[in-house]
Amino acid sequence: MEGSVLVIGGGIAGIQCSLDLTELGYKVYLVERTPSIGGRMAQLDKTFPTNDCSLCILAPKMVEVFRNPNIELLTYHEVKEITGALGDFTATILKKPRYIDETKCKGCGDCATKCPKIEVPNLFDMNLGKRKSIYIPFPQAVPPVYLIDPKLCLKLTKGVCGVCEKVCEAEAIDYEQKPQDIQLKIGAIVVATGFEMPAEKLSLRWGYQYENVVSALEYERILCASGPFGGHVLRPSDHEEPEKIAFIQCAGSRDLHEGVPYCSSVCCTYTAKEAIITKEHSEKSECYVFRHDIRAYGKNFYEFTQRAQQEYGVKYYQTKISQIREDPETNDLLIHYEDLKTGEFKDFKANLVVLASPLVPSRGANELAEILGIELDHYNFFKERSYFNKLQSSKDGIFLCGFCQGPMDIPETVSDASGVASQVATLLNSVKFTQIKEKEFEEPEKEVKPSEEPRIGVLICHCGINIGKYVDVPDVVEEIKKLPNVVHCEANLYSCSSDSQERIKEVIKENDLNRFIVASCTPRTHETLFQVTCQEAGLNKYLFEMVNIRDQCSWVHMTEKEAATEKSIDLVKMAVAKARLLKPQKEETLNIIPSALVIGGGVAGMSAALNIADQGFETYLVEKDNKLGGILNYLNILSPIQEKGSIFLNEIIDKVKKNKNIKIFLESKLENVKGYIGNYDIAVCDKEKVINDFKVGTIIVATGGKELKPNGLFQYNDKNQNVITQLELEQKLKDQNGAWLKNINRITTILCANSRQEEGITYCSNICCATAIKNINILKEIKPELEITVLYRDLQMAKKEFEDYYRQRRKDAIFLRYDLTNIPEITKKKGVKENYEIKVFDTNLQEEIEFQTDLIILSTPMIPADNLEELAKMLKVPIDKNGFFLEAHVKLRPLDFATDGIFLCGCAQWPKNIQDSISQANGAAGRASRFLSAKQIKTSGLISEVNPDKCIGCGKCVETCPYNAIELLDIKMEFEDLDLNIKQSYINSALCKGCGTCAATCPVGAISVKHYDFDQIGVMIDSYLLEKTKLLEEL
């Protein structure tokens, strides 16, 4: 069995999976067929719903992959052949010729500057930008190595030119390179090949053939500051700023006749994002969204689409598009559409049209499926093993993650990537850490004594033109060079590139530096990168300081170059002042107790517990109910597989009960949690009211959700048998035969009952529509003569299966559309039978409809489980405004809490279906078991410390500490011949998070916050103000 894994595809799925795999103890070969990792996420401008800059949050991960000693990065490689089976696969990988020796190329770009060949469209910029025949796909590419396009290069096609070879000082050009096969032995394979957006395949009615009709992915490049138009929203035809921009939803998706039958699932939300960013770029631009249903599938996504309308004034029209034509004079577009709110056909003139065209599996998926011997589904996505295990392919040892399995957003992709990593870990458990190299810094850490004169090095980043265009970088360099203790200062193009890391190390060594400063972008994304570089050069990472002149100078003072430059100089000077006082800090090593606590015994909790237990770690599963299974206990048939929920439930409960590593506590409650990552003391009160104490290293929160009972709404109360919720219907269908339907002839299902409101519950629960559609069909099967009406606002049928699922069932009911301004009215009819009259304004027909019904089924939102505040306090983790737990980062850390060592999954995070709960649970288990596998971790050096000589034992700090990290100890002190009993504060370094609140509270200044201590901040204030006031006085 091999302790290594082949990951195919270097997008965010492959990147996250590779990083997690190495932490779990496996060597990774990451194969990417394009010249750089990063995938689609690297092409995006921002990411919803936080509008974080996409590459800003991705680039640190790309660099992490690049510098990880346990990841062998094989870009511009392709998988040719796979033989063998789980545990012992052999892969043949084709190494395509770059015509450049990647070990020699420094990525300087001199070759491309001199390359004479006329420019051709750049694929990374969706062919909107240009590149030479020797090129790098984008400036932050990883690896930062150029390549030659053999079809264009004059030397390779005609044997003339050869300029690049002459100008390359690194002598990296090699025209003789040939394709090469390499063989790898691996234990498992992960497929993460992603998607593409082939808008050119759309039929002509969508107008993609016109210059000013672009695909949404092309529009991302247009929006992007580093894109082909430098972040100015311009039309491709004339490079004029468009005033009216139309975003067309479902352009080819959900379409049986052309495009794809499924819903691409992410378009509604990214369109809202693109429209918001457009408005932010230019307030006078007008954004119009031609929508069908709103399917913002994911946490807080629906609210995001509402914000686009309410805060940014993006106009949404509910339409069907019939044709888009061009006005040949102006190159404007005429959109001919049906207004679904009025039934009228109208024309709309736009200056630019953005198509949300279908997202399909990347080209070559069919060939890859053949090479791997795995199945595809009928949409050409890779087929998952079963509904309950979407991470596994049809073949043992081959896993799937990300969009290649089906439409999904980035957080789900990241969760799945972690889930795949943990599934690999359960399979290859016996060969963990057999092929792994420890990350060791070759350079021993240099001792820096407080008495030593500071020798500071400063790097000022141009960030391409991002800083360089708006800040006079050479001027900054000159000013900083003048400062005392600054031994070296230079500028560079991209300080985050990997050749810059080499340069930093070189500079530190050559100048014997003992402090280092980078002035570039935000430390929130890039500090770690530079800290590691410093460590590689033998410098303690706390001797590094970062200045953010991009987000705080160049980007926010774009028209004031002089002021932005002056501000940059000041900020760097302040950092230099602080740097002089920086001290090396130690990080402590903590041992991890190799066991886990899982809170919640529903599907998510059980799946997480099983995964961790299967990796050989002891797991405690605590459930408040008297049985395992959570909501699944009440479900009848599961959509879209149409299988009884109890079959899967019984199987998984059986597995959990039989697993010798899992200890189950039923009817039990978490009483107390004390401690910190790796070392938690847990107290659980069991059903005998006995307190069980045990220790765990990590905690997973899987407390699930519950259905809202809408008392008082739509005549609902807990006694009324004729107005019930969807979950109550499930129970009836599950537990009773059809006899209860005997007197019922007309049923009305109301969707969005109390969800997607303007106040109160504003979110979409994502799963209710599919459940309702499932149940109308089941009811019809029991009693075919039933008349069913569905009152809906939008139908949430995201993900690959559900559009077809709905299509097959829509004949079972009459669908009437209502909106928030006209909530259906229900009145109870007096009579023998329970009978209700419903009045609803159907927006499709623009008519008020009245009808009678015998049974009303309400699809109400899923809400968080009860008493989460108490648990949140105990674990010290946050809850969001809707009451669900709040993850560390909604995009790239969806399963982590900000507090190390605690993770979340399932409906505790957000409403989701069984499939997503299971794969998220696997992901959380993977994240948690990284620590358990590693056996120890390092704590941060950014913590507070008490100076015992100054402490007066007042205890104010103890009260303020939010983490209970401070204790007041009784200390005996000898004073002359007296023994004095005094009190003194003590800070537990493992619990301290370094917020520094205690330091600001201490009345005698006895507490210092490492790296942010009083003097360090003090000199920053002085540095800026004293110099200025001196200037003033001179005037």
Partner: protein, 144 residues
């Protein structure tokens, strides 16, 4: 000094303003303002601290002593603190600081401000800075 002259002086006046931002919300908000290219006056210099709770009143007093024309402290909204409750101490401490500023130093209370800005409020960050800078410009330089 005539009114007209004093007005001209105010318009020319470029104040020195220090801003303390917590790492998790306000600094991220400033980043978002950057990424979104929201423009604001270049008079501020940001000092990053992990939590607004770290901002020792002594820092503010030191800045005023060094003739900062304005000091802004910014942290997560109450309830959103990355360190659970650090910003609540900032708020309480700030009230006490106010008394010192007004009663003992005689500094106009408008020169020191506390504002909550979240990581998603790039636009708000730019607005807060613009507004504060304009207020300080209106007040004129801090004279001793």
């Amino acid at each position: 000094m005539t009114k007209a002259v004093s007005k001209v002086e105010k318009e020319d006046f470029e104040p020195y303003i220090l801003v303390f931002c917590c790492n998790w919300c306000s600094y991220a908000g400033a980043d978002l303002a950057g990424v979104s290219r929201f423009q604001y006056p270049p008079n501020v210099r940001i000092i990053r601290v992990m939590c607004s709770g770290r901002v020792d009143p002594a820092f503010v007093l030191k800045a005023l002593k060094n003739r900062a024309d304005g000091v802004l402290i910014s942290g997560c909204h109450i309830g959103d603190c990355h360190y659970i409750s650090g910003n609540e101490y900032t708020r309480d401490r700030f009230e006490r600081l106010y008394n010192i500023i007004i009663k003992q130093l005689g500094v106009n209370e408008k020169r020191v401000k506390l504002e909550w800005v979240s990581a998603s409020e790039g636009k708000r960050f730019a607005e807060v800075i613009t507004e504060f800078t304009n207020e300080i410009k209106e007040l004129g330089p801090l004279r001793k």
